[in-house]
């Protein structure tokens, strides 16, 4: 057969594409369960990390998660619990695109050493792409006990510093309500927060837009949980 004919070219292309597509589809489906377990375990590790349960290996994540997390609630915007939705399965990436009224807000209630913690998942925008994380509040639903952040494509050394310990550790002990119980959230302050500021943390030098993204994300996400916090 003439190798330069159109027919040969078409047949060759069709055959090779079919073989490769089949091969890739096969690997993708057979590896999918393993990959999903990894993603799920990482999510559990991140949630536990906010209440100080670190050093949990990926294999043990599920056991530890079930030990500490007592309740997983899907809240409506008015603070009511939607019992029909599985909170853990809510993907914030798609959820935040919906109207406030139609969104379900996942809340994890944890218990550690007899104390109750409220863990709120976060999702927002950094400079280049999405940023997300978890923030844990103490039983007073005001004091932050821990936070962690991750990002998709922030600049290494600048915006990507939100994943570092020094940045995340600053959130410990900060408060989201002022003295008269009004919601003020926590803000990353450019040039550094004043000492004693219970609502401010140091922003990242050179990562202003990412830092602002973190502030905005925390205040936007937490604001939806206030009705629930008030009633419970």
């Amino acid at each position: 057969m003439n190798k330069n004919s159109n027919a040969y070219t078409f047949i060759f292309a069709i055959i090779i594409v079919t073989i490769i597509a089949g091969l890739l589809a096969f690997t993708a489906t057979s590896l999918k369960p393993l990959q999903d377990t990894n993603v799920k375990a990482e999510k559990m590790q991140n949630i536990l990390g906010t209440i100080g349960v670190t050093d949990v290996s990926r294999e043990k994540a599920e056991v530890e998660f079930n030990k500490y997390i007592k309740e997983q609630l899907a809240l409506k915007n008015d603070g009511q619990v939607d019992a029909t939705t599985d909170a853990f399965k809510i993907g914030l990436k798609n959820e935040v695109k919906k109207d406030d009224e139609n969104q379900r807000y996942p809340l994890y209630i944890a218990e550690k050493d007899g104390e109750t913690f409220y863990i709120v998942p976060l999702y927002g925008a950094g400079l280049w792409d999405a940023i997300w994380g978890y923030i844990a509040l103490a039983s007073d639903k005001n004091t932050i006990v821990g936070a962690n952040f991750d990002h998709k494509g922030e600049t290494p050394g600048l915006g990507a510093e939100i994943t570092t310990d020094w940045f995340q550790a600053q959130f410990k002990g900060k408060k989201i309500l002022d003295e008269s119980n009004n919601f003020v959230s926590v803000t990353a302050v450019k040039g550094g927060a004043k000492s004693g500021d219970t609502h401010g943390v140091d922003a990242i030098s050179g990562g202003t837009i990412t830092s602002d993204g973190v502030s905005k994300m925390i205040s936007e996400r937490l604001s939806h949980y206030l009705p629930y916090f008030k009633n419970n």
């Binding site: 070219t9 060759f12 090779i16 490769i20 993708a28 990959q35």
Partner: protein, 224 residues
């Protein structure tokens, strides 16, 4: 063809392995694949994983293309090569996500960018299309190793000088908040060079490597 009679490791075949390590190194002589050399050499571990991934992709794509080289229609050969390289890269990406999740997170987008690594396509066009599978295999090993060599070298410099570690282990001592609590070099007031963590330093490190290599290996210097 004379290929069948040739010894597996004839002088010519050995050159396929050793040339890319020095005289014809894909990074320092041909200056290909620079993008990933800049991006993932901040630490040694991702650099090593990236090297292994590229090694696998170069070898596998070289062998596959070489096996079907007489069947590929000339007009769509680049597309066919791209197809093979892309599927191998997706394969690597999927396997990493399933079995080495942390590493795959660290390499993130750069695994996908192996597709655009000029070394891979370059070897297919320049070598695999015209040579048998065994030679192509050796050529793949040689070029993958040449790439890995430079990548690891750059990563050693950057991680050691930039964060005082290798593979995440503190080599130069521990840096605590105060001088008194620090150990090793840090107790003498040594500071890490934050510059080394930024991408431009990878380019400068590669430049220095090229300089040193050419001053040792005079035949690489262009004649004018």
């Amino acid at each position: 063809m004379a290929e069948g009679k040739e010894a597996l490791f004839s002088k010519q075949n050995k050159a396929l392995l050793s040339d890319p390590l020095n005289d014809n190194n894909p990074i320092s002589v041909q200056v290909l694949g620079i993008c990933s050399a800049l991006a993932i050499t901040v630490q040694l571990k991702p650099a090593v994983v990236m090297s292994l991934a590229v090694l696998f992709v170069v070898i596998a794509s070289n062998v596959i293309v070489s096996l079907i080289r007489n069947l590929i229609p000339g007009r769509i050969r680049i597309i066919v090569q791209l197809l093979i390289v892309a599927s191998l890269v997706i394969l690597v990406d999927q396997v990493l996500k399933a079995y080495a999740y942390d590493v795959s997170k660290e390499l993130s987008v750069f695994v996908g960018l192996i597709i655009t690594n000029c070394i891979v396509m370059g070897r297919l066009e320049a070598f695999a299309l015209a040579n048998g599978p065994w030679k192509s295999f050796l050529d793949g090993v040689g070029n993958g190793a040449g790439y890995a060599l430079i990548l690891v070298l750059v990563a050693v410099f950057r991680e050691l000088l930039g964060s005082g570690k290798l593979f995440g282990i503190e080599i130069l001592g521990h840096k605590a908040k105060t001088l008194a609590e620090s150990t090793g070099l840090y107790s003498l007031g040594y500071e890490n060079n934050g510059f080394m963590l930024l991408s431009p330093m990878a380019l400068i490190t590669v430049g220095i490597i090229i300089w040193v290599q050419r001053s040792k290996n005079r035949k690489l210097i262009e004649q004018h």
